[in-house]
Symmetry: C2
Subunit: 448 residues, 2 copies
C-alpha cells in the first residue's frame, strides 16, 4: 500500500495510576539472565525446586478427582471470600502457630480471606486504604515489589532503619511524633512490616518490638485507626531460633493488625494461594474490591491447600523443606566466610529463616545495575539484586547503594559455593581498586 496519512501512531491515554507505576526491577534481572546458561543467579526470589511437594500434590489431585461429586465442586466457582472449610482450617493452623485460641485472638473464619498469593492481599489492602499523598511507614530496606505497589497508589513511603532486632520501633515513634507535629497524622494509614526473616535482609522483629509497634499504632490512632500490615510470607521457613508470636497475636480485639501469610513459600508457588487475617470491619471493603478483581481465587488451588492442611502433608513438607533450606543457607554462609575478603564495612546477616542473605559492602562500592560491580558480576557469571531497589529515597532523594540481596531459594545447591566465590572475586577486585569505584586495577589510578 502507498503511504498515507494515518492515525496509526496515536498514543494511549493512560490513567494517573498507570503513569505512577514503574517496571519491577525483577524484569531487568530476568532479562540479564536470558541466554546465559552459565550464569549463577542469586537474584530471583523463586523457591527451591527439588523439594517442591510433587508427591503430595499428586496424591491430593488423585483424591480430588477420584470422587466425581467432589471434583465437580472443585471445578465450579466458589466465593470471593474463599473456600469456607479452608478458612476454618487456616484459623486452626494459625492457632497452632501462635499457641493461642482463635477466641483469645478475637478471630473467626469470617476474618480470614483467601487470595491469589499474599501479594494480592497486599495490593487489595493498599487499594482500600490509600489515596495519593497518604503515608505508609516501612522498613529500610523493605520488600521492593510492595513499596513499588504503594508508590503506584500515590502513597508516600517513609522508612525507618533496621538492626538485628528488625525494624527500629523507636525510630517509628520519633517519626510518628514528628508527623503528628506536622499535622500529617491523618495521612498515616499503614505501618508495613515483614516481621519474619524479612525480604531482603533475613531479619526478624524481636518480640518486645512487636508489642511496642502495636502500642505505637494504637497510641497514634487519633482520627482513625493506623493499621499494621504484618507480612509473614516467610514465617514458617524457620531453621533456628525461637518460634515468634505474630504482632497480630498481641492484638486480641483484632483491630490494629492485618496478617498476611501464604502457601507459596512453605508449600508451592504454583498453587498461588495466600491468606490474610483481617480486622472484622476491613473484610467487607476488601471483599468488594476482590469481587471487582476476580470474584474469588482459583478454587482448585484452594482445594489443594485445604487437602494438604487436612491430611497433614503440609506440616511434614514444611519440615522437609526447612531441612533443605537450612542446608543451602549453611552452604551460603560458609562460602561467604571462606571467600569474602576481610574488609572494614563488609558484613552479612546470618538469617535464622527465609531465603535471603543480605550483604553490606564498604561504603564506596556501588552495587547498582549501572555500576561496575553489577556489570563485572554478570561478566563473571553471577547476579544478585542490587540493594538500592529495596530502599525508598530519603528526603534528599538518596538511597544507600552498597548492599545487595542474595537468594538461596532456587539456585541449585552445588552452585552456591562457586557463585559466592565468583562474587567474592569481583568484590575483592573492587575493594583493592581506587575508592572511587571506577573499577581500575588493584593499586592503579582512578580510571575516570
Amino acid at each position: 500500500m502507498s503511504p498515507q496519512p494515518t492515525n496509526d501512531v496515536l498514543s494511549l491515554s493512560l490513567s494517573a495510576k498507570a503513569k505512577r507505576t514503574v517496571e519491577q526491577p525483577i524484569s531487568f534481572l530476568m532479562a540479564a539472565a536470558i541466554g546465559r546458561k552459565d550464569l549463577i543467579s542469586f537474584a530471583a526470589g523463586l523457591v527451591d525446586e527439588p523439594s517442591l511437594p510433587v508427591d503430595e500434590v499428586r496424591a491430593i489431585t488423585q483424591r480430588l478427582f477420584a470422587d466425581p461429586a467432589r471434583a465437580r465442586s472443585v471445578l465450579q466457582y466458589d466465593t470471593t471470600h474463599g473456600l469456607k472449610p479452608l478458612r476454618e482450617l487456616l484459623l486452626q493452623h494459625l492457632e497452632h502457630l501462635e499457641g493461642h485460641s482463635a477466641e483469645a485472638m478475637g478471630l473467626t473464619p469470617a476474618d480470614m480471606l483467601i487470595t491469589t498469593g499474599s501479594q494480592q492481599a497486599l495490593y487489595l489492602i493498599g487499594d482500600v486504604l490509600l489515596d495519593p499523598g497518604d503515608i505508609v511507614i516501612a522498613e529500610a530496606p523493605s520488600y521492593f515489589v510492595y513499596t513499588g505497589t504503594l508508590t503506584s497508589f500515590g502513597a508516600q513511603v517513609l522508612t525507618v532503619p533496621m538492626d538485628n532486632d528488625g525494624m527500629d520501633v523507636d525510630a517509628v515513634e520519633r517519626l510518628l511524633t514528628r508527623l503528628e507535629k506536622e499535622g500529617k497524622l491523618p495521612r498515616v494509614k499503614l505501618i508495613y512490616c515483614m516481621s519474619y526473616y524479612q525480604n531482603p535482609t533475613g531479619l526478624s522483629l524481636s518480640t518486645p518490638r512487636r508489642k511496642k509497634l502495636l502500642d505505637l499504632a494504637k497510641r497514634f490512632s487519633k482520627s482513625h485507626r493506623i493499621l499494621i500490615l504484618e507480612d509473614a510470607a516467610y514465617r514458617e521457613l524457620r531453621y533456628e531460633g525461637d518460634s515468634l508470636p505474630s504482632i497480630k497475636s498481641f492484638d486480641p480485639a483484632n483491630q490494629y493488625t492485618i496478617l498476611t501469610q501464604t502457601f507459596s513459600k512453605p508449600f508451592a508457588p504454583g498453587i498461588k494461594t495466600g491468606y490474610t487475617v483481617l480486622p472484622a470491619d476491613l473484610v467487607d471493603p476488601i471483599l468488594q474490591q476482590k469481587g471487582n478483581h476476580d470474584f474469588g481465587s482459583a478454587n482448585l488451588c484452594q482445594n489443594i491447600a485445604y487437602e494438604t492442611l487436612k491430611d497433614g502433608s503440609y506440616h511434614k513438607h514444611v519440615q522437609v523443606l526447612n531441612a533443605a533450606y537450612k542446608h543451602k543457607r549453611d552452604i551460603m554462609l560458609a562460602a561467604l566466610t571462606k571467600y569474602m575478603p576481610k574488609a572494614p564495612g563488609l558484613s552479612w546477616v546470618h538469617p535464622q529463616g527465609g531465603i535471603y542473605v543480605w550483604l553490606t559492602l564498604p561504603a564506596h562500592i556501588d552495587t547498582s545495575r549501572e555500576a561496575a560491580m553489577f556489570q563485572d558480576s554478570v561478566k563473571h557469571g553471577v547476579i544478585y539484586v542490587p540493594g538500592a531497589y529495596a530502599y525508598s529515597p530519603d528526603e534528599q532523594g538518596n538511597t544507600p547503594k552498597n548492599s545487595l540481596r542474595l537468594c538461596f531459594g532456587i539456585v541449585p545447591t552445588e552452585q552456591i559455593e562457586p557463585g559466592i566465590e565468583r562474587l567474592a572475586g569481583v568484590i575483592k577486585q573492587l575493594i583493592q581498586s581506587p575508592a572511587c569505584g571506577c573499577g581500575a586495577p588493584a593499586g592503579g589510578k582512578c580510571a575516570r
Copy 2:
C-alpha cells in the same frame, strides 16, 4: 475489666476508591438463597455442574504429576505475563476461531496475557486507563459486575440501547458526536461491548455492527486512541447461528481492540484462567499493574489450560457442553412459551448461545429486590436477577425496572420447567393486579 475510655470504636480511614465501591448485587442474591433448599435459582451465573470436565482434568493432573520434572515446573512460579507455551497455543486457538492467521491480525504470543479469569483482565484494563471522571460507553443493559468495577474507578458509564443485533452502534455514533461537541472526547477511554451472547441479554453484536463500532472508535480517536473492550466470555457457548468473527479480527494492526476470553465458561471456573489479546503498547502498562497484583496467576491452572488445549480435550468438551446447554436453553424457552401469560409488553430473547434468557415484563411491573414481584418470587421458591442492576442510571438517574435475567447455567435441568412455572404464576398475578404494582389480588383495588 472495668469500663474505661478506649479508642476501640475508632473507624478505618478508607480510600476514595473503597468509598466508591459498592457491594455486588450477587451478595444479596446469595444471601436470599441461603437455607432455602426448595428455592430454584435462576440468579447465580454459575455453570452447569454435571458437564464439568472431571475426566479431562483428572487425566491431565495425572499426566502433569507423573513426570517429576514437569510437576516441579508446574508447582514453581511462572511469569507475570503467563505461561509462554499456553500463550502460543491460545493464539493458535484464536486463529482457529477467527479463521485468520495471527499475522493477518497483527498478533504475536507477546500480545496475549493470562489472568485470573477474564474478570481480572477487565479490572486491569480499567485500572490502567481510567481516572475519575473518564467516560466508558457501554450497552444498556450491561454486565453489572463490570459496570460496578468501572464506577469504583470513578468512571462515568454512558450507555446506549440494544436491539436484536446487539449494541445500537448508531446510538454510539450520536453519543460520540455529542461528547465531541461538548468537548468531552478526551475523557472517552473505552467502549465496553460483550459481543457474544451478552450477559444479561443473550444478544450478540451483528457482523456489520462489529465493523462499524471499530470504525467509530478509529474515527473518534482524536487526541488518543479510544479502545474497544470486547468481552467474549461466552463466545464458544454457541448452540445455533453462525460463528461470528470478533471485532478484534477487523483490527489488523491490533491497535483499537482488546479481546478478553476465558476458560471459566467453556471449560471450568475452578481453574480461574482467562486470557486477553492486547494492543502491543498496552502490554507493558498492564503487566506492571499485574505485577503489583500477583506477579502471575496460578501456574498449575495455566498448565491445565495448556494441556486441555494441547490434547484436544478442550475442543471435545466444548461440544459436549454446548449440547448440554442447548438442551437446558430449549427447556427454558419451551417453559416460557408454555407458562408465561400472553400479555402486551411481555417478551423474552431467544439466545443463540450463552447461559442467559432476558425477560421483559409489562412496564408497570417492578422486578427490583424491594418490590412485590421479587418478594413474591422468593415466597414461591424462585429467584432471578432484577434487570435494574444491569442498567446504569440515565441522566435523570432512572433505570428501567421491568426486566429480569434468568440463568440456565447451574440450575439442574429438571428444575427449569417448575421454576419457570412458579415465576409465571407470580407474573400472572401481578399482571392481573392493579397497574400500580402494589400486588393487590386480581381485579381488586390498589392496596396502597
